[in-house]
Symmetry: C2
Subunit: 275 residues, 2 copies
Amino acid sequence: MNYKELFEQIKLKQSFLCLGLDSDFEKLPKHLLSFEFPVFEFNKQIIDASVKYVVAYKPNLAFYESLGLAGWQSLEMTVDYIRDNYPEIFIIADAKRGDIGNTSKLYAKAFFEKMNFDAITVAPYMGEDSVKPFLTYKNKWLILLALTSNIGADDFQYFSENKQRLFEKVLEKSQDWGDANNMMYVVGATRAEMLKDVRKIVPNHFLLVPGIGAQGGSLQEVAKYGMNENCGLLVNSSRAIIFADSSENFAITARIKAQEVQDEMRTLLKAKEII
Amino acid sequence: MNYKELFEQIKLKQSFLCLGLDSDFEKLPKHLLSFEFPVFEFNKQIIDASVKYVVAYKPNLAFYESLGLAGWQSLEMTVDYIRDNYPEIFIIADAKRGDIGNTSKLYAKAFFEKMNFDAITVAPYMGEDSVKPFLTYKNKWLILLALTSNIGADDFQYFSENKQRLFEKVLEKSQDWGDANNMMYVVGATRAEMLKDVRKIVPNHFLLVPGIGAQGGSLQEVAKYGMNENCGLLVNSSRAIIFADSSENFAITARIKAQEVQDEMRTLLKAKEII
């Protein structure tokens, strides 16, 4: 999917919601455990219920890897299910990979060829040759960690040289490797005020913003400081939507929660005269 | 495996060789392709041939993930094979993972419980809560990226604040999270002279040193600047050993190449009066 198509989807659905499929096996509604692939069954029902309000789904790989082979099967089945039924959806592998050149190339192959993801999150620590292999695929996206939503972001991401902080260095340096048509950045909603500084360096790029919902970030603040004229935001929520209800009605509740977020997003898009 | 046991193995085998199982499907000897799990068959023969000269094996996850389910099966079979036949071996998942706290916890579970690895490589960018979950397992190890062997290491790892470079900040800050009994660091052999600076901050820790062999680093230099009285080094070679020969004799050639490295290592251990 390219930049324009993604923006069209945002306008069509009046939403920039990315729903995180952090489908923790321990938290699944109990009645799903009798299925051969409970995680896939959970995802399928969540997707069917929420898709009207969602432009992107983002499985975090840890929740699948931790289940071994059955987890990987559930992940592949989930991606295939979305592709077959909702081809308009943007699918992000939240994998936070990154390795030396010849190895990153294989990760790119795994996520873009073997599985048909649109985008993958990548950690910047190892620099250019660890990042570039993800940028060689047409209509695929690299999402580079810049300023993350967790508390540990303070440890290294604000480290600074001549008043430039590391996350700013990552934003700046990576301009040599790709552009707004194949790169996005992770910027945590828990650090919404920093979006002002981020936008000074990358005014046009899409930002993947985790941290609203369970992590406590504010959607209003994110839009205030981060939204550009093409929206430029994919705001992620995971636990607050998919695990809002652990009863047999979990999917209906997830739909209601997703719709609540989308309602707020529509208002914000209108205020910015995007729709 | 604990620090003392690892050091004992090094003295016993007169080697600090870590053999990287970067078992690229595209490079496997052709006669193995008729096996149901060619990658596992390759690994098994490489392991049987080289184990006398090796203290650690290190599969890089990318080479397995890129094959999908069959890759993960080959990885699990490889770990199980080593555990069953060579329980004295230290096994490293070269995964370069790292995510927010609750997610890193699941990666730790995947690699330390679901699969029985001794250690996992982790990227430091996301800080403390992304790292700590790997430090809660007894006799398991976190191996944190500090100064990597690839060219892209220049992009961010030398970024500096008040004359402290980012890789030094990583070494220093992580002293709050663990110690020489549960943490190691990746320092590339291609930057051997930097080992002097690394050792100023972490004199006692084991270092995992990739980059000799195909990447061109020098074992002599690594030992000169990095070896401490408990050796303190696991030096990795991958392609230069496992893909030295693509004929049916590949395992015999790998054994010879591993023995050549071990010969050099024995000399270095003797020079330091460790054996």
